[in-house]
Amino acid sequence: MLSEEVKTRITQLKDRYPHAKSALLPALHLAQGEHNGWLSDEVMAEVAEAMGLPPAEVRSVASFYTMFHRQPVGKHLVQVCTNLSCSLLGAGHIVEHVKRKLGIEVGETTADGQFTLLEVECLGSCGTAPMMQINDTYYENLTVERVDEILNQLAKE
């Protein structure tokens, strides 16, 4: 269920742009932000209603972008970059370590719903590789020890 606050914000955004449809990506970000980091068909249908668009159109646009998740994700979305510069500096080891530590494969979520592990493309942090993004935060210059510290800390939250 979209909150009144988000619905109001979407209305404001529609007026902010020369064409209202430009508010769609911002609207999807807002909707995802208040639904545990993912977009169900029902939530997307509500976004469609707020935007004055057909639900199928909203699903079509959402499905194009990697940051819009149409299946549930864990509380902490662990996105490890494995593109070239990060791979050269050991991103593969980081992924293997996280898999072992959390007991999941890439693409899976821990049974307690806390962590989802994804491999992602270049995040523009090649100078501090290897690195990962968890939800909105970058964690750079990773070592296996730092990864443990970070995940252990997040598990407590």
Binding site: N83, L84, E121, C126, G127
Partner: protein, 417 residues
């Protein structure tokens, strides 16, 4: 060397408007509004020789000159969708000097007579997007944005617009599709955005670093800009350097600086003997170590060496790395990022990845190399947008320079390293 583009990076609270103004910020904007007509600024930027810093290197002033006279409204779009693997220079500017970018966009928007500017920033750069939004709010409060800027009759509205994860949206027409609320598919050119862009209105799309240069050029003059670089590759460039070097990071250097100067004197030297260097982001052909000794970082020299300056993202690959694995991973990237609109790219990138994966896993055949090159020919110049061509860079260049690594994989069914 005195820092210009990076002058505020590392200064405490560099992102705050007070720090920015104290250090001379917003004087360029003030000067242009007081003393210059938009056409003057376009002429100055043309004369400066500033080329686009996103990767294509198209002269900025010339692009601005394509705006059809007398047609309004116009839009300015800052391309902050930095996604070319190896590139992280725009992020540094966005996070550490957001006002520098805002001023660059404002001066450029004035020159292009645009009263609305969008910063299309990749969704993953959430921290940077917030820094920009905070800085924009400060700029509105102080009268550097909004109506009647600094008492002039120029108005400018500036919006931060987040992407949501799509490398292809770094291509200007795909970016505009995404800005308009659609799937990020590129559009046919012509018409070029300057005549028909956002919302089918005249639009200029420029990279973060390109726009960031404009206040410097306006304040110090076209001749100042021309004092850096080479005859055809003019100005200062931010180089992102990563991979097997001891001090990866972003370094500001005049175009024409030798590659080995960047690697040895700024990036701390290689952390292992160099096998290959990608000079301008993953889409640019890789160069073997033997080609680096006298190579200079400018558009012409790198083109002559068989590659491209691109975004200036240098990736150093050491001898301990497997080239086949590196190319396989990049092929996976392009396949993932293909928007799917056109057959050559959609099918071609998928086949390139599948075959490279097979070779990497030890199930390759010698004729796979010809097959890969054949698929490359099926994409080259035939895809709807440059993403297809971009996918070819690593494949063609690695087969040319490191055929022995591929053959080793085929015959021995494992990595050479």
């Amino acid at each position: 060397m005195e820092k210009f583009l990076l002058r505020n990076v590392g200064i405490p609270n560099s992102w705050d408007i007070d720090t920015y103004v104290e250090r001379g910020g917003y004087q360029a904007l003030s000067k242009v509004l007081e003393e210059h007509q938009p056409a003057d600024i376009v002429a100055t930027v043309k004369a400066s020789g500033l080329r686009g810093r996103g990767g294509a290197g198209f002269p900025a002033g010339v692009k601005w000159g394509f705006l059809p006279p007398g047609t309004y409204p116009r839009y300015m779009v800052c391309n902050a969708d930095e996604g070319e693997p190896g590139t992280f220079k725009d992020r540094v500017l966005i996070e550490h000097d957001p006002h520098g970018l805002i001023e660059g966009i404002a001066v450029s928007s004035y020159a292009c007579e645009a009263e609305m500017a969008f910063i299309y920033i990749r969704g993953e750069y959430e921290f940077g997007a917030q820094r920009l939004e905070q800085a924009i709010e400060q700029a509105y409060e102080r009268g550097y944005l909004g109506e009647n800027i600094l008492g002039s009759d120029y108005n400018l509205d500036m919006i931060v617009h987040r992407g949501a994860g799509a490398y292809v949206c770094g291509e200007e027409t795909a970016l505009l599709s995404s800005l308009e609320g659609d799937r990020g598919h590129p559009k046919l050119k012509p018409p070029f955005p300057a005549s028909e862009g956002a919302y089918r209105k005249p639009t200029i799309v420029n990279n973060v670093e390109t726009l960031f240069n404009v206040p410097f050029i306006v304040e110090r003059g076209a001749d100042w800009h021309r004092s850096f670089g080479t005859e055809k590759s003019i100005g200062l460039k931010l180089f992102s350097i990563s991979g097997h070097v001891n001090k990866p990071g972003v370094y500001e250097l005049p175009l024409g600086t030798p590659m080995m100067t960047l690697i040895n004197e700024y990036a701390g030297g290689p952390s292992q003997p160099i096998k290959a260097v990608i000079p301008g982001g993953s889409s640019t052909p890789m160069l073997p170590a033997g080609k680096l000794a006298s190579l200079t970082l400018d558009y012409e020299a790198i083109a002559e060496a068989g590659s491209m300056l691109g975004s200036g993202a240098v990736i150093v690959i050491g001898e301990g790395a497997c080239i086949v694995q590196a190319v396989e991973r990049l092929a996976e990237f392009y396949r993932h990022e293909s928007c799917g609109k056109c057959i050559p790219c959609r099918e071609g990138t998928d086949w390139l990845y599948q075959i490279l994966h097979r070779i990497e896993q030890g199930k390759g055949r010698e004729k796979d190399l010809d097959l890969l090159l054949d698929i490359c020919d099926g994409i080259a110049g035939k895809s709807f947008c440059p993403l297809g061509d971009a996918a070819l860079g690593p494949v063609q260049s690695s087969i040319e320079h490191f055929r022995d690594e591929y053959l080793f994989h085929v015959r021995e069914k494992r990595c050479m390293v």
